[in-house]
Point group: C2
Chain length 345, copies 2
C-alpha cells in the first residue's frame, strides 16, 4: 500500500466505520450518557490533534460540550497535572503509543474520571489505558503521512456526536460521506496538473475557520511533512490579528471555504487579500463567489452540510500534497526526519 | 512613544502591576475563591491568546486548573455555544473591543457563570461585560505590534496564580522580574548586531515548550507582523510529529530553552537538529549546553524560576524582531495590513 492507495481507500474506510463500527459507537455513547461530566479534556498530537480540533467545533456546537485541549507536558514532565473533576478525558492517537498522550488518560483514570480512546490500535497502551475505545478500523497505514486514519478519526468524532445527539437525520447525512469523498477522488488528474504550478513554492499560508479550522491545520501539516513547504494554518479571524502582515504581491494563500456560517467572513478576507494585497489564491469551495476569486479553484460537490465538509475537503488537499511532493521530487512514502510512530514524553 | 520606547518601558509597567495593581488582584482572587468552578474557559486572539497559553500552563501546573481555550466563532457565528456549566469564563484583550471575545463573556454571564476580563482598557466593551476586571495598566500602546501589553498580560496571569495559591514565596520571586527584564534590555547593542545576520531570512521555525510554548508563539507572531518572516511556532514535541520534515541544512531554527522540567527534551531535539540536520540555531537560554550548540547564542540571566522565564525571555526576542525589521527596511511602528484594534466577529 502506497500513500496514493491509502488516499484512494478512504471511501471504503469511512463506509466500514459507518456500518461495522456504528453499533459499538452507539453503545459507547449510551454508556457515556450515564456518566456525569461538564466538559471534555482531550489529548492528541500531530494529525490526531487536528481531529481534536474538529471535535472542539462539532461537539461544541452540536452537543454543547466545551473541549479543553490538553497540554500533555503538564502530565508527563511537570508532574503537577490539573484536577480533571467534571471532565470526560479523551485521547486520540493512530498508533496509541505516544507516552505523553497515554499519561493524560492514566491521570484521568486515577482521578476516577470516565476515559475514552479513539485509535487505530485498540490493543495499544492508549487503548488499554482507556475505559472505552472507539476503533477507527482503518487497517494498516504504511505511509508515514497520515491520510485515511485522519478522515477515519474525523468520522469517529462525527459518529460520537450523532450518537450522543441521537439524531437520525444527521446519521443519514453522514452516510453520504463516502460518496462525496469518491467524487473528489475523481479530480485526481486535474489536481495532478494543478500541482505543477507550485513546484517552486517554498512557503504559504492556509486559511480555514470553524469546522474547517481543522482542515487548515491538516492541509498545512501535509504540505510540511510531504512537500517540505513552510506553511502556516490560520483561522480567517486570527490571520487578521497580525499574521496578515507577511503577505505581499504573489504570496500564495490556500483557503478552504465551503458554504456555511463563516463563509461571508472568509469571503470578505479573500476579497481583501486579492484586491488589496494581490496574493495568489488557491481555493477549495462549493461557492462560485469564492472560486471566482481564485487563481487556482478546486470545486467541491454541492450540498454537503458544513459540519461534514472537513471529511470531504481534506481529500483534494491530500491529493494536492501528494502530487506536489512528486513534482518536487521528494519521497511520498517516507519523508525525511520522520517515523510512523513518534513517541514524545 | 515608539515601539522601541514601549519595549524599554517594560520594567516600569511590570513594577506598576506588582505594586499598584496587586491589592486589586488579591481582592479578585479572594472573590473567585468564593465561586464554584472546575475549569477555566478562556477567549483571546493574537498576542492575548499567547497570554492565554501561559495561563494554560501556569494555572494548570500551580493552581491545578484545566484551561479550555475558546473557539470564539461558536459564540459569534454558529449561534450554538457550548454549555459553560462549572466554568470560570475569562476574556483577555488589550483593547477590549473585539466583538467575538466580548460575546464569549456575554454568554458566560447569561449562563450565570463567573466572568473575568484582563485588559488594558477597563472601560471597554469587554471590561463592561465582565464581573471582575484586572487592569493591566500598561498605559497607551501606540505601536501596532504589542510588546508591553503582552508582558503586562503575562504578569496579570502570574499575579492571579500567586494570589489564588496565596504563595508569598512566589510573590517574592515575581518581584524580581522587572530587574531581570532590565538586565536583558541591556543586551540592546549586542542584539542589534546579531540581527544583521538574518537580513535575508524569509522563513524560520520557533521552538518552545511548557511555560515557554507561549514565548514561541509570541516571538513567531512578532517575526511575522514586524519583519514579514514566515515563521511557525512549535512545541519541541509537536515539531517531531511531522513538521521537522521541513528543515534542511542551514534552515533557521529559533529556540527558547531555559532551564527547567522540559530542558532535557528540548536539548535532545536541538542536538538532533544540529548534528543530524545541520540547521542554523539561534538559542535563548541560561544553560551552557544549549548556548554552545547555537550559531547565535543569547544568554539569559541565571536563576530565574522556570515559571517566570516567559516574562523575561520574550524581551530579547522583541529586541531581535525590532532590529531585524530595521535591517530589512520595514516600518517598526505600523506594519502593512494591520491596525492597532482588530475587530473580528
Amino acid at each position: 500500500m502506497s500513500l496514493k492507495d491509502e488516499i484512494a481507500e478512504q471511501p471504503d474506510v469511512l463506509n466500514r466505520l459507518l456500518t461495522e463500527q456504528w453499533p459499538r459507537v452507539q453503545e459507547i455513547a449510551a454508556a457515556l450518557k450515564t456518566q456525569s461530566f461538564d466538559y471534555v479534556f482531550l489529548a492528541a498530537r500531530g494529525t490526531s490533534d487536528h481531529a481534536g480540533l474538529y471535535a472542539k467545533y462539532l461537539w461544541g456546537s452540536v452537543n454543547h460540550l466545551p473541549i479543553a485541549l490538553a497540554a500533555p507536558s503538564l502530565f508527563s514532565r511537570y508532574g503537577t497535572p490539573p484536577s480533571l473533576a467534571r471532565a470526560l478525558v479523551i485521547g486520540i492517537s493512530q498508533s496509541g503509543q505516544s507516552p505523553d498522550i497515554v499519561s493524560v488518560i492514566a491521570v484521568g483514570h486515577r482521578q476516577g474520571r470516565p476515559t475514552l480512546a479513539i485509535t487505530n490500535k485498540p490493543d495499544s497502551p492508549l487503548g488499554q489505558a482507556a475505559k472505552w475505545v472507539v476503533d477507527i478500523a482503518a487497517g494498516a497505514e504504511r505511509a508515514v503521512a497520515a491520510t485515511k486514519t485522519y478522515t477515519a478519526q474525523l468520522m469517529a468524532v462525527a459518529l460520537l456526536s450523532v450518537a450522543l445527539a441521537d439524531d437520525a437525520d444527521r446519521y443519514a447525512a453522514l452516510r453520504q460521506t463516502p460518496e462525496w469523498v469518491a467524487q473528489v477522488l475523481a479530480y485526481d488528474e486535474t489536481i495532478r496538473q494543478i500541482a505543477e504550478r507550485y513546484r517552486y513554492m517554498e512557503q504559504c499560508v492556509v486559511i480555514g475557520r470553524g469546522f474547517n479550522y481543522a482542515t487548515a491545520f491538516e492541509w498545512s501539516l501535509k504540505l510540511k511533512e510531504l512537500a517540505y513547504v513552510v506553511s502556516e494554518p490560520y483561522s480567517s479571524a486570527d490571520f487578521q490579528h497580525g499574521p496578515i502582515a507577511v503577505v505581499s504581491q504573489g504570496f500564495p494563500v490556500f483557503a478552504v471555504v465551503p458554504d456555511g456560517a463563516v463563509f461571508d467572513d472568509q469571503l470578505a478576507l479573500l476579497q481583501r487579500l486579492k484586491h488589496d494585497h494581490h496574493v495568489e489564491l488557491l481555493v477549495i469551495s462549493d461557492r462560485r463567489e469564492a472560486l471566482d476569486l481564485a487563481d487556482t479553484p478546486i470545486p467541491l460537490p454541492a450540498g454537503i452540510p458544513e459540519w461534514i465538509t472537513p471529511l470531504v475537503d481534506i481529500v483534494p488537499a491530500q491529493l494536492f500534497c501528494y502530487y506536489l511532493t512528486r513534482a518536487k521530487g521528494f519521497d511520498t512514502e517516507s519523508p525525511r526526519g520522520l517515523h510512523k510512530v513518534t513517541k514524545t514524553q
